[in-house]
Amino acid sequence: DSGDAETAGGDSGDGGAITVGFSQVGSESGWRAANTKSIQDALTAEAGFDLSFSDAQQKQENQIQAIRSYIAQGVQYIAFSPVVESGWDSVLEEAKDAGIPVILTDRAVDSEDTSLYVTFIGSDFVEEGKRIGDWVSENLGTEPINVVELQGTTGSAPAIDRKTGFEDAIAGNDNISVIASETGNFTRAEGKTVMEGFLQAYPDIDVVYAHNDDMGLGAIEAIKAAGKVPGKDIKVVTIDGVKDGMTALAAGEINYIVECNPLLGPDLAEIIKTLESGGTVEPRIVTQDEAFDQAGAQAVLADREY
């Protein structure tokens, strides 16, 4: 069903550069910044692209407006990381009517009509949570442990999915009990505040599961301030694998990280090139996310890009 993309090639008259409109969610985190940079670095003029980039400031309405603008401007391809899963049908239909292929990055949409977009590239949040859960279950869940969870922004897809994945994975292990779960809004500062509260309220925490590195790093600060050793007295597991997180992992303060790769730019460029040359692509491309333990982190830390 992604084959109809060729139709869009029609109006590429201007010097051969492929015009692409990319609407980013916003710039809410270091992860996002790395993602943006990767895309801007991949879709350059030298590589044969004419990239129009816009930042929606975490607002769906801005994003819809941007996509409509791209349609009005007559770009050849539209790519975007949807702020939310729902609510894209109308604008995607407009793009389809205008014959512009759409590529989703990082986050999926829940449209039933999958012909509205060519492909999705990104990570599977549920899977990420599940991998963390599996690791905890196997490595720590051999004896009774108390886990506290630092959730992402309430209601956001990564927060919901990472929670679900984790819960699914540990469901079979009676040793693991999640004693508290609170939102830290994906930020370091709130991760720290919430962890401070946890440390006051629950004297016997064994594991912290943070939905992203930043909250995990905040929690580490709180653990240290309480006179305990992160990674030893209290184990820390997180998702993302940004540089700071990997550094802490290598330093032994975090125990396990499941990567969520932000470097989608090259993949995106390749997909567009393929489509442009008349090829077809898979409707769903899940990026290869790695997972690191402390030894693994030390090995790769030196040449991490982000």
Partner: protein
Amino acid sequence: MSSVMSSAGTVARHRLFWPVVALAVLLLACVLKSNTFLNITVLEGHLYGGPIDIVRRSSVLLLVALGMTLVIATRGIDLSVGAVMAIAGAVALSQIAASDNPESLTVVLSAIGSAVLVCLMIGVFNGFLVAVVGIQPIIATLVIMTAGRGIAMLITGGQITTVTSAPYKTIATGYWLGLPVAALIAGFFFVAMALITRRTALGVLIESVGINPVASRLAGVRARTIIWTVYILCAFFACVAGFIRSSDIMAADANNAGLFIELDAILAVVIGGTSLAGGKFSLVGTLVGVLVITTLTFSVTILGIPANAVSLFKALVVILVCLLQSPVVRQKMRKRRAAPVGTAPAPVEVPA
């Protein structure tokens, strides 16, 4: 007997009565949930425990609310404080990160110095828009609220700048005489401002400008200078708050540092009894407001309120405090206590 009754009545009638009660109830709830909550222990030579955490946590909001109180007293409002916090952290930490020796005190001090300078300039800019150009404060400060985070990100390149620097770390997590340095800093500025506004004439001049700017100008008060000054002060306090926030996590998070703190600060100011219409202000009230809000946030974790219900819980507490504190309800209470008095005139109060 009756004198006891009446003095209890006086206490209950005080503007800060209900906020203090709310504070007490929240603390009590925390203690019931976690009975070691109020215990203060000595850990590695400093004090550790729930109350200490709350005090240390309060420092950021207290600083911001301190400046906000002054701005609000002049009938203004400053939405840019969160962005200023982000810029302060971004400037200071990128400078430290770029230096050869992040651990050196001089590097840290010069980084702090340049951040203060940048923030003061923002204060000057806000004050200029409000006092000289005459733009409505909410819009004037909306400019920096929007652009400021962009500037902070420009400085950090959109990344979260992380550093290790012991002197800088001391700001938020250090202890002096067993007490958190952050709280000492906030406390110092709080006491200093309380003294400056009440021991000099600044307080009364600010109030006068807030109540009736035209009359104040005709009375010879430098209304423009005063308005300008409070915006500069507000930016300065936000800057210090930004240091504490960034030192707390040893990272400059341009996106999230101080996000929505302006709303919490305004809420604290109002719970403390300062009217958004300008005029009479109370710094002690602001302190109580700050403690209520910090404790509220803290208690969410302690009490284990589900993430989905946090907003609702906060809303209910805020609504309850505001309702109990409202002039009408207080009037009703007074009516029940004392002989009826005319209803129309607002109660006369002397600020703290």
